[in-house]
Amino acid sequence: MADRDTPLINNLEDGPWPSYVKEIKRAAKKNAAAKDLLGVQELSFKDKITHWKHGGIVGVTGYGSGVIGRYVDVPEEFPAVEMFHTMRINMPSGWFYTTDALRKICDIWEKYGSGLTNFHGSTGDIILLGTDTKSLQPCFDELTEAGFDLGGSGSALRTPSACVGPARCEWACIDTLDICNNLTQEFQDEMHRPRWPYKFKIKVSGCPNDGVAAIARADFTIIGTWRDSLRIDQDEVRRYVKNGFDIKGIVTDKCPTKALAWDEKAQKLNLRADDCVRCMHCINKMCKAIRPGLDRGATILIGGKAPIIKGAYLSWVLVPFMKMEPPYDEAKELLHKIWEWWDENGRTRERVAELIERMGLKTFLRAVDLKPLPQMVYRPRANPYVFFD
């Protein structure tokens, strides 16, 4: 198909932001499926509807997940994308790569697929975008030879992800990359063989800034934090102030609990450590002077997810503080308890948060052997409908 046939999408080659249409065209030069994808895109732009159909079940031997089947609804017109499955390839923690590894993936995908990809899918996988059923197995075999494996899909554990953490961030309170990698390796079976009521996601952020949005989109949210006082270097504080930094306007006024006060006379930043809720703001604003404490671990939260079916959930505090040291047995045990309870009680397509809502947090806490704590709630109940037993 020649360029002149896609006037609508061609329009998107212009403009300052890098153009995905150009990218498809680059791939289209070498690959028929990529070329047909241009046509399908153009058709959708014209019709204003999608032209993809539900995927059937396709995959590689021994796996129940990692591949999303996809078929075009106008195969006569676009035979090269009659099948256009994606493969989800589990990225290394923190999305670090050697160029060697990347080039290997490119070469394999040039051989077996459309040559199009997402770096990365929004769960975190490398998305290899578009191939046919027969190419899946050989492509997979070569990928594993190159050291890569499939990620999750379907009613399984999904590919865990982690922020850059200790690799390049001074605020990481936990080793996000190691936790992510360790849990991923531990739960290969849970990821590759769907057997749960629905999907389950784990994400790891090194601090409450939550660089992988774990609280919004992970069923099991691990966020680094500390239990002692944050560390203040008063000399550095004074340096900030001397340089004209509006410490009151930018920092102390914005502390959510007003735990900080700048003593102008003593030229000292005072902290009521008990009232610090570790929001990160003062640290974010004065990273040379204020740093997280040293007694570090993670807050574990449960239940984050998108709106389908009962509405979106942000994760809820489950364990205010958990030490996070390899081999992370406490976290793993907790995961096993959660999965067991969910597997036993969950309905089809019921995420763990929805099940907790349906059966009650109390029931859930008992099932996973956790004590109720005020940190789990913003506030106690207002209604008098208490079940005593």
Partner: protein, 354 residues
């Protein structure tokens, strides 16, 4: 059959040398200019990072291009961020400008750091998903062409996270973004009863509907389903489990815009994004209605918010009354929540602005 369950390669093999050496020892950082970070270690080492925008849907040649840069300046290592940007890291300050030049030569912008609009987290859209009510890469391109100056500078009051999902399954952290763009259907599914019994499990399909809108076809001669159109809010959950109930509609599909969400715990606790504009039409290739609406919201925010105020924090301070007034967006009955926990959003005080 080859290997199985080997899991991802270890990140340890992928780290640049300076990172391996200073792992966990970083002390502080600064943003020396848009898109350039300098992290300093307790060891005295430093690492410079150049962040480049990417369209995310790329060819393998794109990957090879950026690998070339990394090979030249970064000892053959690079990383991607959680928002699909590319990061080139080097311990050498003198490499920074050459990296920037090389990146720009590829047509990629450098930026996305600090008080900027970073890359739009997004999804498959018409390029791959059967569920899409709008396109994703195309609409993102149209938006980012307009918001480009906010990516390459740091002139906003605070970070502004934009995300886009092509249907209300909301792949991505869309529902907690400063600005969330969501593809929506506005027409009930068209049941294809000739296929229903062949390709769908009837009880599962009926059970999938959050509002109980799906019933067995009352006509005993028709084996199939009917949708009570009054009860349908076009969520598409039935379509997910039953392909014979497509919702896609040329004129009905479009986008909604939600604002004021965040996930960081900095200052204000995490917040959901909330409905600003219930519906704008799909108007490819440039979606002018949606793009202008988003630009307007960004500009009003940029003008009125105080430093370090995220979108939601600004709205929290000035009130939603003022958000609607200042943006000129009409408030409609669609904005009023009538789902399960709706009443918790109703105002139980005489405190409000006129």
């Amino acid at each position: 059959m080859g290997k199985s369950d080997i899991g991802p390669p270890s990140y340890k093999k992928m780290l640049p040398a300076v990172i391996e050496k200073n792992y966990g020892k970083w002390k502080y950082h600064e943003i020396t200019k848009p898109g350039v970070l300098r992290h300093v270690s307790e060891s005295g080492d430093e690492v410079w990072t150049v962040r480049a925008g990417s369209p995310r849907l790329v060819s393998i040649d794109f990957i090879r291009d950026i690998c070339d840069i990394a090979d030249k300046y970064c000892d053959g290592k690079l990383r991607f961020t959680s928002r699909s940007n590319v990061e080139f890291m080097t311990p050498k300050k003198e490499n920074v400008e050459p990296i920037i030049a090389a990146v720009q030569k590829l047509g990629l912008p450098v930026g996305g750091t600090g008080k900027a609009i970073s890359n739009i987290v997004h999804t498959q859209g018409w390029a791959h998903c059967h569920s899409a009510a709008t396109d994703s890469s195309g609409l993102v391109k149209a938006i980012m062409d307009e918001l480009y100056p906010y990516f390459t500078s740091m002139k906003l009051p605070a970070k502004l996270r934009v995300a886009l999902a092509c249907c209300i399954n909301m792949c991505g952290a869309v529902h907690c973004s400063d600005i969330a763009i969501v593809g929506i259907h506005t027409k009930p599914p068209k049941v294809d009863n000739s296929k229903v019994s062949a390709v769908c499990e009837i009880p599962t399909t009926m059970a999938s509907c959050p509002t109980g809108a799906i019933r067995k076809n009352p006509d005993p001669n028709v084996k199939g389903l009917v949708v009570n159109e009054e009860k349908c809010m076009y969520c598409g959950n039935c379509f997910t489990v039953c392909p014979a109930m497509p919702l896609a509609d040329s004129t009905g599909d479009g986008v909604a815009i939600y604002v004021g969400g965040k996930v960081s715990n900095a200052r204000h606790t995490p917040m959901f994004s909330r409905l600003a504009i219930p519906y704008l039409p799909n108007n490819p290739p440039r979606w002018p209605e949606a793009v202008n609406a988003i630009k307007n919201i960004v500009e009003v925010y940029a003008k009125h918010a105080l430093p370090d105020e995220r979108m939601g924090e600004w709205i929290d301070r000035v009130g939603w009354e003022n958000f609607f007034k200042l943006t000129g967006i009409p408030f409609t009955e669609y904005h009023i929540d009538d789902f399960t926990h709706g009443i918790d959003t109703y105002r139980t005080t005489t405190q409000f602005r006129w």
